[in-house]
Symmetry: C2
Subunit: 415 residues, 2 copies
Amino acid sequence: MALRGNLIVGQSGGPTAVINASLAGVIEEAKKHSEVGDLYGAVGGVEGMLREEMVDLRAEGDGVTSLLSRTPSAALGSCRKKLVESEYERLLAVLKAHNVRYLCYIGGNDSADTCHRIGRLAAEAGWEMRVVGIPKTVDNDLAYTDHCPGYGSVARFNAMAVRDAGLDTAALHTVDRVKIVETMGRNAGWITAATALAREAPGDPPHFIYLPERTFDRERFLSDVKRQVEKGRGCVVAVCEGIRDGEGNVLVSFKHDVGTDSFGHKQLGGVGDYLVELIAEGLGIKGRFDKAGTIQRVFGLAQSEVDVAEAEMVGAAAVQRACEGVTDMMVTLERVNQEPYRCETGLAPLADVANAERPMPDEYIAPGGNDVTPAFLEYARPLIGGPLPAYARLRMSRVAKRVEAQHQQPRSDCD
Amino acid sequence: MALRGNLIVGQSGGPTAVINASLAGVIEEAKKHSEVGDLYGAVGGVEGMLREEMVDLRAEGDGVTSLLSRTPSAALGSCRKKLVESEYERLLAVLKAHNVRYLCYIGGNDSADTCHRIGRLAAEAGWEMRVVGIPKTVDNDLAYTDHCPGYGSVARFNAMAVRDAGLDTAALHTVDRVKIVETMGRNAGWITAATALAREAPGDPPHFIYLPERTFDRERFLSDVKRQVEKGRGCVVAVCEGIRDGEGNVLVSFKHDVGTDSFGHKQLGGVGDYLVELIAEGLGIKGRFDKAGTIQRVFGLAQSEVDVAEAEMVGAAAVQRACEGVTDMMVTLERVNQEPYRCETGLAPLADVANAERPMPDEYIAPGGNDVTPAFLEYARPLIGGPLPAYARLRMSRVAKRVEAQHQQPRSDCD
């Protein structure tokens, strides 16, 4: 017999361009199931549940979900909250008071942990409730899923940004010879790797990609940059915020230290500035860094169509599976076909997903450690939802020179 | 009688999202004038002219210009080159050897200076040549023109970026309470000011806008941020790279110092990191900074349709005017109607434009010095080419609480 009761949905962890598409998927699917009564949104994830701050999602206009899927960030509010034991009783009391029988939680590794704890808590208390996780993280570092909703869009943004920043650098390479593009990704290089999708022809930027899966070697880096700069046309480097040197130190230039969340994650970011200084000091070459920061993960205009559709799909699947009796699981994406690309949903135990990290595998990292492999490109290309907008490439047919070099010009690598 | 001869076009200064649209405008218009023979592109602006590095733009495919208008950065290559006297003779020799009678130069303040020098040089040598400048700068700080092509697109990008970063901050404001978005703009606040176009309702981000036209006061800033953070929902600050304190110091956190170009402009950027540190030290509050850097000025996806059309228009107008006999002038934009918005082209002497800067006027800066006025919004809104994409706003209808506050929850501004 169907479990009758109310459903609560929460959003957790860092916002993405499509976490609201998953919320839209939950809402639309829940409306199709008569056993689901009220439809609650937790304000600020599990923090909102603890404070009993919930909104009535059935009170939203009927047309809101299609626009919601196009709206970046987390419309219900998010949190980075690790549940502590002293809060368990309160949480359960709130869920029971509102007859919550279905809980869908959209988040990453840490959210899977939270989700699993809530499920275990309810089971121990004899409160029948189905808890299903919905994957989300721009970092793409969840295990047991082909990829994570949110990744395709941040990958698309960064591929575009590096293509554009590369054109910028090429145009003005006599002034700013090096461009460092710093991406998010924490301890996983997936986002940084995706900048390789900017390339359309051999030699196109990014010229180097530095991933946290490989130890960063300052001398090697300076040698890479020097070699590329000497070719002319400038050097574009994509680097992950989380790269570490041989001693395990992250490379950051800033001094403040107030950024550690309740899961113990330290705030990263600052490597771009650090590398510009390293190049200035080590090579005497001027560079610039671009650090789109949180803009990259929520830039609505760069949404991947595939990402939006899959985010909706995993949201809907969570409700379907929960209504079928599934609990303590996270919805996953399984690639069932590469050409044409197609994913279906699967399931993985929340406990397995919780707190696990999936770094980039060796087969996706070039032997030199400063680039990706064709296998990675094959993996990532379908996720960004179609090719980047077409740009013109001039033929640049040279006009024959007519003037002798009457005056010695200062040597320049401009070409 | 029409002046018969060849035309050369160059791109100069920092790339923009639409400087190629002006190039496309030049190419298309030049093809309509029978007195214009060969059509040369200078590779890397005046540096390319000095090195006699030119490409044949008539050899490009016929369809290239429409795609070129959609392609950011400077397709011919750019430079930041101040002509010195010892180069005059060589430059003139190159122009004469290729029978250049028309010179169109797309650039900003410094480029107008270069353009004016070339024109004077040719006139003094008795070489009949018409020199017309085409305005371009994301900084929007050229005098004698309503605004500069390139500005509408960087404004659109930053309005979107701040709207999205604002949603991101609101969602996770219990973790990252402050978001600093650092924009370009050098000594003029136009780009930073445009982030105000992100607002759709009262209280929307950005909450404060700090412009280089006003002295930056650290205490006042900390007090602004503290007040906003206490309201809950986080604090989003847009700040220009070029702000200075009461002693005239720019606020940068980086130590390297290799970034001064031949016009004496020092590289800016770094204020975002600086302010995050200031907030950490002064208020003990965690913040983040986003610095899109050069990505903001060339992000193809954020092109303003108005900006593209006007960039093409000024490019075409330069050729038209030159063919009519105009020389030593820059094409300008004149706003002839506000509703519906419409601009026409005008002319201003290159010597007047050269090296002038147009900061934001007082009437566009709010009396408090940390925001813009409605008059600025009226000025800037048409330039970004239509409203930003629509986003959903949930009604967030609260569910009545049923559980007493059994356990005292830690006080939080999460709402």
